[in-house]
């Protein structure tokens, strides 16, 4: 059976932004998420004005993908249809749903916001990452009570084995009421010089639970 490898992984939670276990950027863990994520975005020094329009979930996922794919150029090995994205979370986009409800709940102040409504689907974060990095392969958003490494790894490996994809971004992007946790990694059949971590359930569980 073919083996697959993780070339990089990132984690964003409690104000800390890490890549491959190394702390890359940090803000005060008690700072509101919107400030934390804006500070991180600015540190990236990229031009992506659409960032500011995103809801918190999409900002989180976008930044995780940016941190993951920065400086490594793994994507250049593949064409856009050969790379896919599998993400999951517990609360879907409930935070944004609640924000949207605020725009419609008062009949005296009824102004449904299209800019908020568009983010009331959890897979929009996949859309934002796809647009930014031109990723056009298989993409699915799952809802799980907690990150289900067994399912995600096995499903991703299935896609790689069947050659449905040559590479895949897999992750957990969770945001609810200012609590956030993003974990994302890049798996493919390529071994990178920096990482030779095998893409298995055990490896991913170890990395995620550290």
């Amino acid at each position: 059976m073919e083996r697959f490898f993780i070339s990089d992984h990132v984690r964003i939670s409690n104000g800390q932004f890490s890549k491959n276990g190394n702390l890359i950027f940090a803000e005060d863990k008690d700072e509101p998420f919107t400030q934390t994520i804006r500070a991180f975005y600015k540190s990236l020094e990229i031009q992506h004005p659409a960032f500011y329009k995103m809801d918190n979930l999409s900002k989180l996922g976008f930044c995780a993908a940016e941190l993951l794919l920065k400086d490594h150029n793994q994507l250049s090995l593949y064409n856009s249809q050969e790379v896919g994205i599998l993400l999951a979370n517990e609360n879907s986009c409930l935070d944004t749903d609640q924000e949207y409800v605020e725009t419609i709940k008062d009949p005296e102040n009824y102004f449904p916001s299209p800019a908020v409504f568009v983010y009331t689907l959890p897979n929009i974060v996949i859309g934002e990452i796809s647009i930014r990095h031109k990723i056009q392969g298989e993409n699915i958003f799952f809802i799980q009570p907690e990150f289900d490494a067994e399912f995600m790894v096995n499903y991703a490996n299935g896609l790689l084995e069947s050659k449905s994809l040559k590479a895949v971004l897999v992750g957990w992007v969770e945001f609810y009421q200012d609590k956030y946790d993003a974990f994302m990694y890049f798996a493919s059949s390529e071994k990178s010089k920096q990482n030779t971590l095998e893409h298995t359930v055990d490896t991913i569980k170890k990395i995620y639970n550290k």
């Binding site: 856009s80 249809q81 896919g84 994205i85 517990e90 609360n91 879907s92 409930l94 749903d97 609640q98 949207y100 409800v101 419609i104 009949p107 449904p112 916001s113 299209p114 409504f117 568009v118 009331t120 689907l121 959890p122 897979n123 929009i124 996949i126 859309g127 934002e128 796809s130 647009i131 990095h133 031109k134 990723i135 056009q136 392969g137 298989e138 993409n139 699915i140 958003f141 799952f142 809802i143 799980q144 009570p145 289900d148 399912f151 499903y155 299935g158 449905s164």
Partner: protein, 372 residues
Amino acid sequence: MSKAYISETNIITALGQGVSANIAAMLEGKSGITLYYDKEISTQSFYAARVDNALLESLDPEFTRFEKLILASINGIKNLKADLLKSPKTLLIFSTTKGNIDQVPSGKRVKLYDSCQYISNYLGNPNKPLVVSNACISGTVALILGKKLIESGTYKDILVLGADIVSAFVLSGFQSFKALSEGACKPFDANRTGLSLGEGSAAVWLSSEKNDQNPALFIAGGGISNDANHISGPSRTGDGLFFSINKAIIESETLGVKKEMIGYVSAHGTATPYNDEMETKAINTAELNHVPTNSFKGYLGHTLGAAGLIESAIGMYSMQQNILIPSLNYSAHGVTLPLNVIREKAEVDIQAMLKTSSGFGGCNAALVIGKE
């Protein structure tokens, strides 16, 4: 490798319960889209396709509308035995965009997983349910997942369940998008002005065994893609959807279902100016524009997370019965490229069908269903 056979299906829509009843109504030209006055949903009247409350009455009031829709669908699967539902070799896959959105912010089981787990526990299934929430392609994606998990031998039987409700949340959102039709929607028509919202549910029972089915239908191929262009507007070229269609066809060919055998296309056909145009482009690029095509949305409205499932289920029945159902509210061809939109009922031998879906976030999914 096992094949993912379709054992049985059931749907609940504005046109009633059961695929057969739905088709009978469709062949009489009936639409489930009607004008409502309902303060719970909107201060103004609105067009939508809503499920008759009478179909959900017998269910425990403890369940939410979304949960009742799902359970009512399963209840209609006649040959499904309780011990199959309780077997560890049976998986439940749920497909929905907004679940219990009418309960937000502080009602019952606002978290999607809680609601699906609640239903799963009620049915006695021992496995963690798989929950997909991927905009309007969720239903099609759920079937593709089911196919893969049956083929890999992980499960013997899979119940793919999907539902979405008409809600103030979603209606107001589409209104703010100015995406709603004046009146019932008109897929592919020159005078289409937008979509109509619908609600409904479906239960599709996939199995590694053919059972008594003759002819037996199976899911032959699937493809999912992303336009990577815009989060709410479809790509103008239709390339993303074409890629999904092509992927589904390539996969189906490995199971002996060739592209030339596709005799029917169940399109997404939401009747927005952009979707129908994009979809027609994709179908043309796939060289399937001569294949009889319909959209069910003129009859049922856009049922969001349930659409891929409901429409596939009706398509499957079309295949079994070898009938083509007309696409409602299509009179003048309203897309730039040709498309063989079904105008009248016809009886033809359908060897294989294609289902297409597209959704917010730039996602697309396509499915090929074959016949043995």
